[in-house]
């Protein structure tokens, strides 16, 4: 059984902390994705699991074995690299069998395993080719075959699809998922592409600045992001986030135009607190559609700015300030009051048009503006407050 456990793993390069106190507990057979922006420490985390770097502190356990100080070859892992890293002087067979030959397997065993692996990734009949005679997708399949032929306990994949073109990448995703199903091994997958993370994983570990932000199933990360970073990183386009202030009767945006009514005390907020409100573009509706939303907010006035027709939907940039027709180049302050809305492609919405929008109360998030921590996901159960006095009496947070 190959559980992988990271406990307090820290990696420092001089003054720079690449990975800071990382704790991960990965179950056997799990497909887990480490995702985050470039330089967030996800690759370093993977390297410490692989044994290619020694952590400055903390322990790595694979199965029941503390592997923190073991070299890569004794960890029962196999790895697929971003730039594929096939050995250019060896043909496909030699590349795939390299690890087995080093371990002195018998010729028959090697042949059997190589053919088996080649079969799994549809490389049959290409075993005598040289890497430079193959396409990018074929090479990546060789790299995957090289990993599965060793029948490791844990697969490590460091952005294996990043160098492939978009169409091939989508295809290889399904290949990887099928392999995972067939082989019943743990897969740890690193990517900066949140779409890959969402589609393939059992759980996503979102990492930023060397720290684990959230580890949860993809939909949990999407629907209940633990903090502002996860909210912004998972989902494309990003979640709208607006600065604002808690009033006696709910929350109001900085420019006063977006008001959401609820009892702040139920969220432990008190008037004067300044939490950030978040809502995803698909949870913003024009007021005509308000009756399709179970828990709509009140109508909010806005002006459409730019439209981005995507084919299957249209992204509408909304300005919530009172600038109406005299629209100017957006300054930063104005950007903050911008709201992105996604509407269906048959909508007749136009640019520079006054429009009233509603938000889905069950999909509204509040985050602490300073720490970024989530305060609430969905406020559909919170009643509006009629009188201001009750809230004032309770709010002492």
């Amino acid at each position: 059984m190959a559980r992988v456990n990271l406990e307090g793993v820290t990696k420092r390069y001089g003054d720079v902390t690449a990975v800071d106190d990382m704790n991960l507990d990965i179950e056997h057979g799990e497909f887990i994705t480490l995702v985050g922006p470039s330089g967030c420490g996800k690759s370093t985390t993977m390297e410490t699991i692989a044994g290619l770097t020694k952590p400055t502190g903390g322990t790595v356990t694979i199965g029941d074995l503390d592997v923190t100080t073991l070299p890569p070859k004794d960890r029962g892992i196999a790895m697929v690299f971003q730039n594929i890293a096939l050995f250019p002087h060896m043909d496909v067979y030699d590349n795939i069998s390299f690890g087995l030959r080093l371990r002195n397997y018998s010729k028959e065993e090697i042949d059997r395993r190589v053919e088996d692996a080649a079969d799994k990734v549809q490389l049959v009949g290409m075993l005598d080719r040289m890497p430079d005679e193959m396409s990018g997708g074929q090479r990546q399949r060789v790299a995957i075959a090289r990993a599965i032929v060793r029948e490791p306990d844990v697969f490590l994949m460091d952005e294996p699809l990043a160098n492939l073109d978009a169409k091939l990448r989508v295809h290889m995703r399904t290949v990887l998922q099928r392999l995972h199903k067939e082989m019943d091994t743990t897969i740890i997958y690193v990517t900066h592409d949140q779409a890959e993370a969402m589609t393939m994983s059992d759980r996503i570990a979102v990492i930023d600045a060397g720290e684990l932000q959230q580890i949860a199933p993809p939909l949990t990360c999407y629907n209940e992001p633990a903090n502002l970073f996860v909210a912004g990183f998972i989902g494309s386009p990003s979640m709208n986030t607006l600065a604002g202030e808690v009033t006696d009767t709910g929350w109001v945006s900085q420019n006063g135009n977006i008001q959401i009514d609820f009892d702040p005390a139920e969220l432990g907020l008190s008037p004067g607190d300044r939490p950030t409100m978040g809502v995803r573009p698909e949870d913003v509706y024009t007021s005509e559609k308000a009756d399709t939303v179970t828990h709509p907010t009140q109508s909010l006035p806005a002006t459409t700015d730019v439209l981005e027709p995507m084919g299957d939907e249209i992204f509408v940039y909304l300005l919530t300030d009172d600038i109406g027709a005299e629209k100017m180049a957006l300054s930063e302050a104005e950007q903050e009051n911008q709201l992105l809305m996604s509407v269906s492609p048959d909508s007749t919405i136009e640019e520079d048009q006054r429009v009233d929008v509603v938000l889905d109360r069950s999909k509204i998030h509040f985050f602490d503006a300073k720490s970024g921590e989530a305060i609430a996901h969905g406020i559909e159960d919170l009643a509006g407050v009629e009188s201001a006095s009750t809230a004032e009496a309770e709010g002492d947070d």
Partner: protein, 345 residues
């Protein structure tokens, strides 16, 4: 090379290179028309067409670019080689009379091949060539791998290793002459620490060639290191990591994954080193300051120069020179052919 000249002339002559392959058919027809009209005026058109068919259509336009160099090289390099070969067929010696070209034979070659001195020189040349190149490559590779593993002061080491190459043979020969000195040389002092020696490295015919090879390796392994280092830097770190994850020890990783990828660097470095080995004349000459290198270290180059310029056996010297030339060609030839076959020439 010729191709690039062609492109340049084409651009200068009329920017014709913008045509696409689609209209090349038209062009052949046009060309044919021109040739036909010229045929009426005289036979020169036919010659021109033949030249164009053979060497490409902008052959004449490109002459200003390649002809001067072509003529100079023909005269001073290939012409001299030819003349040298011609002299080697005569019995020319001394300055008393001019070479007699009326009676050409291979007598000098027979004399050279049967001469024990020349045979020794050939053996020494080969020994120097092979030992120097192999040791230099091996040593340079080890240095490059060590430097590549991210040691401290990497740049300093690189400079230190490369520095000897910038020195003249005359200087390094003098250095080593002093260092090999049997009474107060530092090499013998070093051996003295272990109770060995003193050895007369230069005077002992059994040691002198090894001593010379060592000195040359010292001078040129820095160069090999730089060539290998460049090649190592081109190998992605993932290859090292992949090999490690696959279970290779450090030695096996280098031996089976990294070193095979240095093939091209090895080929180009060995060609340069072999050429330097053949040119070791300077070093040997500077070691003693005259045409007679220490016993046991006579190579073809020194033998040739000694026969020609000391003994004034011009024809004999020329014959040895041709042998040396053939030797060099035998080394460079396969390399050039390999490059030509892979379209790198």
């Amino acid at each position: 090379m010729f191709d690039s000249f062609r492109t340049v002339t084409r651009q200068l002559v009329g920017g014709e290179d913008h045509r696409t392959s689609a209209d090349s058919d038209d062009e052949i027809r046009t060309d044919g028309g021109v040739a036909e009209s010229r045929r009426r005026t005289g036979s020169s058109g036919g010659v021109l067409k033949a030249v164009r068919d053979r060497f490409g259509e902008d052959f004449l336009e490109s002459t200003p670019f390649w002809l001067p160099t072509f003529l100079l090289m023909s005269l001073f390099v290939y012409g001299s080689i030819g003349w040298n070969f011609l002299i080697s067929l005569t019995d020319f010696e001394g300055f008393a009379q001019e070479p007699d070209y009326s009676n050409l034979d291979f007598e000098m070659y027979v004399q050279a091949v049967t001469s024990e001195a020349v045979q020794t020189a050939v053996v020494n040349t080969f020994a120097l060539l092979v030992a120097f190149t192999v040791v230099c490559l091996a040593f340079g590779m080890v240095l490059a791998i060590l430097v590549d593993r991210g040691i401290r002061f990497e740049n300093t080491f690189r400079t230190i290793y490369l520095l000897p190459m910038s020195l003249s043979f005359v200087v390094t020969a003098q250095f080593w002459l002093w260092m090999y000195n049997p009474t107060n040389g530092i090499v013998n002092m070093f051996f003295g620490v272990f109770g060995l020696g003193p050895y007369d490295f230069i005077g002992n015919p059994n040691l002198v060639l090894a001593a010379v090879i060592f000195a040359l390796v010292w001078q040129f392994s820095g160069y090999t290191m730089v060539v290998y280092l460049a090649s190592l830097r081109a190998i992605p770190t993932e290859h090292y990591e992949a090999a490690q994850v696959d279970g290779a020890s450090t030695v096996k990783m280098y031996w089976r994954v990294i070193v095979p990828q240095l093939k091209n660097a090895t080929i180009s470095a060995s060609v340069v080193l072999m050429v330097f080995a053949l040119k070791a004349f300077d070093f040997l000459y500077s070691l003693v300051g005259n045409f007679r290198p220490p016993n046991g270290s006579d190579i073809l180059a020194t033998k040739m120069v000694r026969e020609a310029f000391q003994n004034q056996n011009w024809a004999y010297g020329s014959a040895i020179a041709v042998l040396l030339f053939a030797l060099a060609l035998a080394i460079i030839g396969p390399y050039l052919f390999h490059q030509y076959k892979h379209d790198n020439l």
